[in-house]
Amino acid sequence: MEANSQPNLPKKEIFKQKNYKEAARIFLKKYGIVLILLALFILMSILSPAFLKTRNLLNVVRQISVIGLIGMGVTMVIITTGIDLSSGSVIALAAVVAASLAQRVGWDAAMYPNLVGLPVIIPVLVGLAVGTTCGFLNGSIIAKFKIPPFIATLGMMTVARGLALLYSDGRPISSLTDSYNFIGQGEVLGIPFPIIILVIMAVITHVLLTNTKFGRYVYAIGGNENAAVISGLNVGKYKVLIYTYAGLLSGLAGILLSSRISSGQPGLGTGYELDAIAAAVIGGTSLNGGIGTVWGTIVGALIIGILNNGLDLLNVSAYWQQILKGLIIVAAIILDERKNR
């Protein structure tokens, strides 16, 4: 145990510190990742002229909107010292089910010939319901049978993928209605719709975590589950709620993804859960529990997104990108450990 007595001060107090070195340290601790994001942004702008184009930047944010959504859910789960490996597969399941109810009129190979041209609200609600149900099952198994989250969500990851393949017979479900496609492709006042969804969900999740009893309980369960039980928390109930919310976000991400490519494919989202966890960890969420924020995760997702995008523009091979991503994740975890010692 180190004699590290740095206080955790609110924003105003930081600048009142007489010792500038100390103030700088506290500032870095709190806003370090934003600085890294800015540095990365500047670096990429210098290295590639195409980077700063509006279209490109909008593309980046559009691409990270899916990871950002499931990243928020997994952040909440990791704060309680849990993990969710099923987000990618739930994306696929929600995507194929929603897409099957969003097919346009006149498409001969529609899955449900009697259910074409449905109002967009139906595939959306159903897709969300699928995600929510998967999350609810995750949470219930973990809370009731005390199975480690890693195992329970690993099971769901495999089962949901299998169900997606079964449901779609292994084939893409295509030709979707315009109103459905709007969700992933449309723009409102020049802003891509997925970004609007991301921001709305980020605000909601942030408020949930910081301003409600629910949020306090999430941090408490992660901080010390035994102490939380003794203080009267119904930990089981909250675990179910947390995983259900993560499932809801996965469902939403599935709708977003399938509407963007106008096709519900059973292979969607493969590997996304790991990217989401990476975004959360880079953003400061601690795998030991009790620490993490929505904005940190968004910044983490942006860092990954800008890195990927920048390296693409520089024609760096996708293989190198993967190696780099892995190294950054490990570096982030090491820094996190030292910060929280």
Partner: protein
């Protein structure tokens, strides 16, 4: 006998966040003697021993062992040098056998380099024979009683054939018969030239077995002297620094109606037939050795664990307690024994820790009234004298005493009628201790009912209106404040009062 010093620890300093555990202390042990190290909880004894055994490194000072300056940077170094330790906290590996636990890390290997299980069991058997212990080396550790677990721990430390053995509360879980046995072993070790550092709270043992005594207080060395040159009262005043009556200010409170009544409470394997009553304004002390079952009883009353038989009545109405939520609804609060393990949320702020149990009170619909929370926290900080730079401060950076105060305010914010305090002043400095005792008195005066588990006899004697003593899962004694003393409690605690 060579009376040279086998161990010299000089000018040792060690600090942790928020607390200076050791301030320039010294310890000089003569070869072939039993040297008792005494002091209240938090005086620094365990910290110094952890430095000697290589778990901590000192911030300053020197250690000289067998006339050579040494640096002990890990436990292996200490063991190789010839220092082994019987730890206060027993942490055996439950699913491994007795023999495997004893030889962990130094298992005998055969010619193929594989563990020689037969030899390991045989060596364990020989060790037990030498120490006259009747334990089966093939039993799993989890099958052993706490007393036998401690005896195995003792055997393990001795099996290293070290020149110096540190015994940290070696008799906390064993009966008087086994204590005599241990003393026989200690005396024969002395004859073999082994030096022993003996840490205990039990005054009688100190005078029975030790040659020299060193007293620590608040992280400082107070005095070292031969055992023959002092007595119980002298030791207590050195350890505590003031008269006993001054430190436990239990002021008189009006004792009212029975608020909690427990009848024939039983939990298989932990405790049986526990019955007692608790009144408003009363502080009911629970004394007993480690493993006697006191914490387990409180866990059942509070709903942390399930009991098999018995009934609980609150205000004369039978209640069904299944979870801590139930207990809190009935006005109970539980301050747990180990604040690090089950008390504080270490990565969270003081504020988050404080409002955890009462958070429903600060809700405005779905949202939290942050202003109200801030007010409430400042209020409690002032009332209890909690030292922290701000409410945002991470609780793990506070001293033990202040952490405990935050936990107490966590419970006070739920407006409880019955408070269960399990070792409320364990591991905190004397100043904070006194403050917590004053707070307890005040709460009793306000009509709250308090149950206090404590392993510090002076605290039990000073603070309780009545004392219940437990021994191996049963209530073995009940005394009024005026009728009780240390001897009577120890007799009941060790089961020798029949």
């Amino acid at each position: 006998m060579d009376n040279g010093y086998i161990l010299l620890m000089e000018n040792i300093t060690k600090a942790f966040p928020g607390v200076k555990a050791l301030d320039n202390v010294e310890l000089r042990v003569r070869k072939g003697t039993v040297h008792a190290l005494m002091g209240e909880n938090g005086a620094g004894k365990s910290t110094l021993m952890k430095i000697l055994i290589g778990i901590y490194t000192p911030d300053g000072g020197t250690i000289t062992f067998k006339n050579q300056k040494v640096v002990i940077d890990n436990t292996n170094t200490a063991l190789k040098m010839g220092i082994s330790m019987i730890h206060q906290e027993l942490s055996p590996i439950p699913y491994m056998t007795v023999a495997e636990n004893i030889f962990l890390g130094r298992e005998p290997v055969n010619k193929l380099g594989l563990i020689d299980k037969k030899k390991m069991v045989e060596d364990a058997r020989k060790l037990f024979q030498r120490l006259e212990l009747n334990i089966n080396p093939n039993s799993l550790m989890r099958e052993l009683s706490i007393a036998n677990t401690q005896m195995v721990e003792i055997a393990k430390a001795i099996s290293y054939d070290s020149s110096m053995i540190i015994m940290d509360e070696p008799t906390s879980a064993i009966t008087e018969k086994e204590v005599e046995h241990l003393f026989r072993i200690v005396r024969s070790l002395k004859e073999e030239g082994v030096s022993i550092i003996y840490i205990t709270h039990k005054m009688d043992e100190v005078f029975k077995i030790s040659d020299d005594i060193t007293v620590f207080r608040d992280g400082r060395h107070i005095k070292t002297l031969p055992a023959g040159e002092t007595n119980k009262e002298g030791l207590i005043s050195m350890m505590v620094g003031r008269e006993l009556s001054q430190i436990f200010p239990k002021s008189a409170a009006e004792i009212g109606d029975v608020v909690l009544s427990v009848r024939n409470l039983t939990r298989k394997g932990k405790f049986q037939n526990v019955s007692f009553e608790l009144r408003r304004g009363e502080i009911l002390g629970f004394a007993g050795l480690m493993g006697a079952g006191r914490t387990e009883v409180m866990e059942c009353i509070f709903g942390v664990a399930k009991y098999d038989e018995g009934e609980i009545f609150i205000n004369n109405i039978k209640v069904d307690i299944k979870t801590p939520q139930d207990s809190i609804k009935h006005g109970m609060a539980l301050l747990t024994e180990d604040r690090k393990l089950t008390g504080i949320l270490s990565v969270l702020s003081v504020r988050d820790n404080m409002v955890l149990a009462s958070i429903d009170k600060y809700r405005r619909g779905m949202f939290l009234n942050k202003k109200r929370i801030a007010e409430v926290c400042e209020n409690e900080k002032g009332k209890l004298g909690i030292k922290t730079p701000s409410m945002e401060q991470l609780i793990k950076l506070l001293s033990g005493g202040n952490q405990q105060k935050v936990l107490i305010s966590r419970w006070l914010l739920t407006s409880p009628e019955i408070l269960i305090l399990d070792e409320p002043t364990r591991g905190i400095d004397v100043g904070a201790k006194a403050e917590i005792h004053r707070l307890m008195s005040k709460l009793a005066q306000e009509g709250k009912a308090i149950m206090m588990i404590s392993s510090e006899l002076p605290e039990v004697l000073g603070m309780s209106d009545r004392v219940m003593v437990m021994h191996e899962g049963r209530l073995s004694g009940e005394f009024l404040r005026c009728d009780v003393d240390q001897e009577k409690i120890m007799k009941c605690a060790t089961g020798t009062n029949n």
